[in-house]
Structure formats: C-alpha cells, structure tokens
Symmetry: C2
Subunit: 194 residues, 2 copies
C-alpha cells in the first residue's frame, strides 16, 4: 500500500480513537491496532503523537466545512428550483449527518477544550473561527444565527460525548432531552449505541 493510502487509513482510525478517549488518553498503540499496523509505524508516519492529533483535527475541519459547502450548494440549487429550504436548515441537516462519524466531532471537541495547550489550542481556536467565518460569510448567517447554530452544535457534541443515548430508555429525563434536542436523527443516533 502507498504512503498516502496508509496515512488516510491511520487518520481514520486515529479519529475514532481520539474521539473516544481524548488526546492524552489515546495511545499510539491503540491507534496502530485500530489501523492494523505497528505502533512505531504510526509514529513514523506522523513524527509525533501530537502531530498525529493535529492532522486529525485538520482533516476533521476539512470534512466539516466540506459537508457544509455541499449542503450550501444543494441549497442554492433548491432556491433556483423554487424550493423552500433555507441555508441554515440545510447546514443544520448536514451537521446532524456528521453525527454518524462520532469520532470526527468528538476529536474536534477534545481539541476545543484543550485551549491552553500551545499547539493544539492554537489550532483548535483557529479551526473554530474558520467555521464561524464560513457560517457568517459563505452561509450568510447573522451573528445571532451563528451563535444559536454553534450553541446547538456544542450541545449535540456534548450529548454524543456523554453517550446520552445509552440512557434513552432508562431515564425519562434523558428521553425528553434527546427528543427535544434531536427531533430527527434520533433513531440513527440510538443505533450507534452498543
């Protein structure tokens, strides 16, 4: 297998593991096992564990923005065709779609709360602002709309991180909360639980 393919393979595996256990909690060995390669080889490809995590963040942000752009483009088509959908509905749906890659959003989330780390924090802040600017400038949302959208997103991320769906039919409060927060996409989210 070529270097680029292996790299992408490892990045995919790393995204899952980092999302599950966080930056520090993840061992390069766990990533290696998930990718089916040896631990030293993971290090060899990326240099250090930190560089690997930064690459994961990079890729996650690319994918996030890509998904939003696609949703936005589909929206333009819909508008042209005289259909009702508005930008932020489409983009919101795109975000819900991303929940399927739990590792992607959770890896980002783990990066977000490590703001005091010199390298990771800097990249995480820049990434968050990149998303902010996209929503403001390309998606044309107002500051208040972006604010609500991001708040909604952070709650969804947190609920996914909490594995709240595991309590869906064990606790009425969990059920009510999830029903309110995820009017659609709920059955899908529940299907992710073990």
């Amino acid at each position: 297998m070529k270097a680029d393919e292996r790299r992408e393979l490892v990045l995919r595996a790393a995204t899952q593991v980092f999302g599950e256990r966080g930056y520090v909690g993840t061992t390069t060995d766990a990533v290696a096992k998930a990718a089916g390669v040896s631990q030293p080889y993971v290090v060899r490809i990326f240099g250090t564990k930190e560089a690997l995590f930064l690459a994961v963040l990079e890729r996650a942000l690319e994918r996030l923005l890509m998904a939003f752009r696609t949703a936005l483009a589909g929206d333009a088509d819909a508008v042209t065709a005289g259909e009702p959908g508005e930008s932020h509905h489409r983009i919101g749906a795109a975000y819900a779609e991303l929940l399927s890659d739990r590792g992607l959003l959770l890896s980002l989330m783990h990066g977000f709360i490590l703001g005091s780390d010199p390298e990771i924090g800097a990249r995480a802040r820049a990434g968050f602002l990149q998303v902010y600017r996209f929503l403001r400038e390309e998606a044309g949302m107002s500051p208040d709309e972006v604010h609500s959208f991001l708040a909604e997103g952070m709650l969804l991320n947190t609920l996914v991180g909490l594995r709240m769906a595991a309590d869906y039919d064990r606790d009425p409060a969990a059920r009510e909360l999830l029903d309110t927060a995820l009017p659609t996409k709920l059955d899908f989210l529940l299907s992710l639980e073990p």
Copy 2:
C-alpha cells in the same frame, strides 16, 4: 490541618488542574504541587486518581446546583417584591457567574466528553441529567427552554475551554462571536486571560 480541610484544599486545586489539562492529562503530582502537598498524599486521601476526579465532578455539580438554587431563591424574593426578573434570567446570570471558576465548568466538560469511560461516563451522564431535572422541575422551565439553556451553556463552556478570549482583540471574528455570546460578563472573562 484537619483531614476535611486538606481534602477541600486538594479538591479545589484538582478542579483547576483537571479543568486545564483534562482527566488523563492531569498528573496527581501537578495536583499535589497546586495544593502544596506531596504527590503520595493526594493519592492517600482519595485512593486513586479516578476517585479524585469523581470527587471533583461531585463537588462541581453540587456547587453548580447550589448556585442555581440560590439564584432561584433570590428570584422568588424578587417575584414577591413585584420585581420583573424571571427564573431563567436569574439562573442564566448565575451560570455566567460560575465562569469565574473556569476549572469547575471545564472539569465538568472534560467529564462530559468521556462518556465511554465506565465510571466517569456514568457519573457524568447522571450529573447532566441531574441538572436537566433541576431546570425542568425546580426552575420550572419547559423542555425547549431547558434545551436552549443547555445549548447556550455548552457553547460558553467550549469558548472558555478554547481560551477564545485570548483572540478577542487579535481576530474580528472572535470579537464578534464573544460579543454575541457574552453580552455581559465579557470584560470579566477577558480579565482571566494571561
């Protein structure tokens, strides 16, 4: 010094460090140094690092609910006195107040995204639902109101975790975002940055 005082002292220090570096990223030695005691003594008091973190979560949730209850009580007084304030405004203000203890909210946040951990995840979910029930039952919010309140809270936590305020006067997007998300309390938040 008595055991209880030391315990509280260490818990306070631990809350700060866990909030900064997360559960796995925190060493018991860093906590010990922050508390001014020896590393083995920290372990001695709580048994294990995990037990220490669980105690930090416990204490953080207690304080959070305490702050909400106090706000709610003040609200009842205000209502009696014929003043305008509504429950969720007061409670929202109480939450903003809590931002002063960055470690408290961030330790909770770190717990929230470790939902897959058997012990920590279980406690974090239970704690989150405890807050949910308080807002529904004691504060009398509707499901939608709780949902919005929690979304807002998760965004604030994330912005604090990101140290977004550090970019306030370096990046117009950061400024706009913080101005929107924190109409009040902003100067205070900024004063926390190094």
